[in-house]
């Protein structure tokens, strides 16, 4: 039987150089055990957790010990970033570089990994899918640096459906090496000079809050309605094609079911109509539901909480409450402007 310890237990107090090497080895094990949301504790994560604990036992003057420490890392590829991370102790993340940078063989290996682990949401060729953004764009909302990408793939992105490596129930968990290969692939697939979005963003904004009436249901940067999804970030989370499709035929994407990896974000704006025991009919969107209960918002943004067996009827529809904006309602040019506005907001 082993006592389970926290990182703090192991790293309290002054650390002498001689203690350091043994404890570093120990830390590798402890870190993995203590990473709360991480299935495969990455090297980077270990260092960050270690760093954050404020109890760095190795310091610039103990360079010899670092070397020993690095020797314990079995995968030689991760040593370079680790060394960098150690050298620049106050800015660990920014100094990380992909050891496979511009290596076409690694990029090819990364493509295989991408298909297995990422394509389910991000699409083949990383050009975006119904759930994941187009990753061929140079600008990525959650960071463009190698370290950002590594962090986002390893740990997931809080508040989004992007799961931590190995936790999405699809595919396999990746090693650090494989994550770097994926990053090499993404760099190779990246469109170097993305076409500037055509369209007039300023006019798009006017339409959004004015004639097109988008803001009666959608919020951007804190202003707008609540019935539909907040669109502040949608420009970077979805492809342009997907945005256009969502406006022209909003019910299309509702046909996508939920998978385990997206389950915690159950809100998918499914249309629901219930009849209460006293005969009142309420129409709105599903906020969440399970076998026995339903949480919904009606078109006046009132939240209702129902036990299903007490309702007279529940009707769900994959027809979105959002009207389909056909070209007679919103011309192609105007739609381009609205998309340009959403893209401009999302890249702020």
């Amino acid at each position: 039987m082993e006592k389970l310890r926290t990182a703090e237990d192991n790293w309290d107090g002054e650390e002498s150089a001689s203690l350091c090497s043994g404890r570093l080895a120990h830390f590798r094990t402890e870190c993995r055990r203590d990473c709360p949301a991480v299935i495969e504790c990455s090297t980077l994560r270990c260092l960050q957790a270690f760093h954050a604990s404020g109890t760095l036992c190795y310091h610039a003057r103990n360079l010899m010990n670092w070397r020993k420490f690095l020797d314990w890392f079995p995968v030689s590829m991760v040593r370079a970033p680790v060394l960098l991370a150690l050298l620049v102790s106050s800015t660990v993340a920014e100094e990380i570089r992909n050891p496979f940078s511009a290596d076409p063989k690694a990029a090819k290996a990364g493509e295989f990994e991408f298909r297995i682990n990422c394509a389910f949401c991000h699409g083949l060729g990383a050009r975006g899918g119904g759930r994941g953004p187009d990753l061929t764009r140079a600008h990525k909302r959650h960071g463009d640096s190698d370290a950002d990408l590594f962090q986002n793939i390893s740990q997931g992105i809080p508040g989004t459906v992007m799961p931590a490596n190995g936790t999405n129930g699809q595919g396999v968990g990746m090693t650090d090496e494989e994550i770097w290969q994926i990053i090499a692939y993404l760099r190779s697939a990246q469109v170097q000079s993305p076409a500037k979005p055509v369209g007039n963003a300023a006019h798009g904004k006017e339409l959004f809050y004015g004639d097109a009436n988008c803001s009666s249901c959608h919020t951007v940067e804190g202003k707008g309605g609540r019935l539909g999804p907040d669109l502040t970030a949608v420009g970077s989370a979805r492809t342009v094609e997907s945005l256009v499709e969502s406006v022209r035929s909003p019910s299309q994407r509702l046909a996508w079911g939920l998978t385990e990896s997206t389950k915690e974000f159950a809100q998918e704006y499914e249309t629901v109509t219930v009849v209460t025991p006293d005969g009142q009919q309420i129409k709105g969107v599903t906020l969440n539901e399970d076998q026995f209960s339903l949480q919904m918002m009606d078109t006046a943004e009132r939240i209702y909480l129902f036990e299903k067996d007490k309702l007279r009827s529940i009707q769900k529809s994959r027809e979105s409450l959002m009207p389909a904006y056909n070209p007679t309602v919103l011309t192609d040019n105007d739609l381009q402007d609205v998309v340009a506005y959403l893209l401009s907001v999302s890249t702020k």
Binding site: M1, E2, L4, R28, T29, R32, R33, P36, A37, V38, I39, E40, C41, P74, V75, A109, F112, E113, R115, I116, N117, A119, F120, G123, L124, G129, G130, G166, T167, G169, G171, V172, G173, M174, T175, E178, A255, W256, G257, L258, T259, E260, K263, E289, D290, Q291, F292, R318
Partner: protein, 532 residues
Amino acid sequence: MSASIMNNLPGILLIIVGVLTLETHAQVTFERLLNSSKEPQNWLTYSGDYAGHRFSPLDQVNTANARSLTAKWVYQTAATGKFETTPLVADGILYATAQDNRAFALDARTGRPIWLYQHQLPSDIRPCCGRVNRGLAILRDKVFLGTLDAHVIALDAKTGNVIWDVAAVDYKQGYSFTLAPLVVKNLVILGVSGGEYGIRGFIDAYDADTGRRKWRFYTVPGPGEPGHDTWEGESWKIGGAPAWITGVYDPGTNQLFWPTGNPSPSNRGEGRAGDNLYSNSLLALDADTGKLNWYFQFTKHDEHDWDATQVPIMIDSSDKHLIAQANRNGFFYLLDRTTGKLLSANAYDRTTWSDSKDAEGRPVPNQQSSPTPEGRTVCPGALGATNWMSPSFDSRTGLFYVTAREQCDIFSTAPQPYEVGHAYYGSAYFPSDKAEPYWGALRAIDPTSGQVKWEFRHLSPTWSGVLSTAGGLLFTGDAEGNFIALDALSGKPLWHFQMGGAVYASPMAFAVDGKQFVAIAAGSSLYAFGLP
């Protein structure tokens, strides 16, 4: 000794036993495993018995009182990821595993821990589908654990101390153990995981006292062995065919019936022309030697990752010795387990990959099901019509209960070189654009006719298995976190409890001090329910 004392002896013994519970525990002999139905208060093997029924003879909780079920205790593992364990209970103590190769023993009445163990895993293990484990096996005073770095470990059931620890194989090539071992006689039997890494699968038996390996059956035959010619060139070396779910045991014939998984790479048949034996098969093995008596291959030359790793269920009716499996490929198979002959195969889920059967009655794939580079929609999807979550069989209702998933996927294939220890799928898969939302159901199948008698529809596909009990009840969980009791005859829900975390486990039942409990893992917690 006078006659009156003799007459009172049972009563006196009862009192003594009540006090000395902990002294008498921990000798779970093979005879007790064989006769597990005689001690319904205990749950001594992964499926509750050797036949794979996942049926509890307890009836204190029944259709009349299920509505008053309530949570009795919750044990939190503080671990993350999928919590897939089925606990064992022996004489008041519950033994289970959790993520990252934790194992623990609890006071089964209160959920209070007696010991905790965690195996120290290297940082470069390669479990395909989460850092999961499905449970322990028990024999005498030891419990047995298979680990994600492919070790087999015996722990002292009273302390959690390691008695022996052996490495079965080099984990760096992609091997791991995720299943609960099965104890037969003095052997600890396990099948390996790693079908996503181009392993060569096997089933192992270890001496329970020493950890010495007594036999190994390779699920991919080597040169000169029967079945070797079902592999193209050298593809057998990385042919997969893992065996990652606990099989069943027939004491009458001393045979193990153990299912196997997909050939590697899972979604690309090019380069491994042939049937690819013994992938996606049911194997009848001599329990003492591991010698193959017969096999039945459900999906030949699989290209959809349709592992046959679903617990098979032995069914005896009059003079017939049968074995049934609701397969991941969407068909329910009934076999004669004396010969391995197929008796019937019927779809219990939406299947688009087969519209004809071969001479033996085995469904065969159609032209439109093979993955292409552009992708093809096939039902069931990659995760299957069902998966590893346990089915259940209640001999009183005569029904086979299985968790079904209604999900189609687009299967796309791409050439991929094999690299040791790296994921090896040769594919990608996606939800179909035109697909209806995924959903799931608990289905009751009449094994004789293969017909679905009723279904209880789940809002979304669940990874929960099913338990049936002598109280006329079924228990299952859902992806939204509900634990649900249903009438085993009609499928009508009678009770539910929202546990706050998705279920990736199969329920079990036990009793302590005459009180029945039903337990299930959900989220990061193990829940035990009982009557107020």
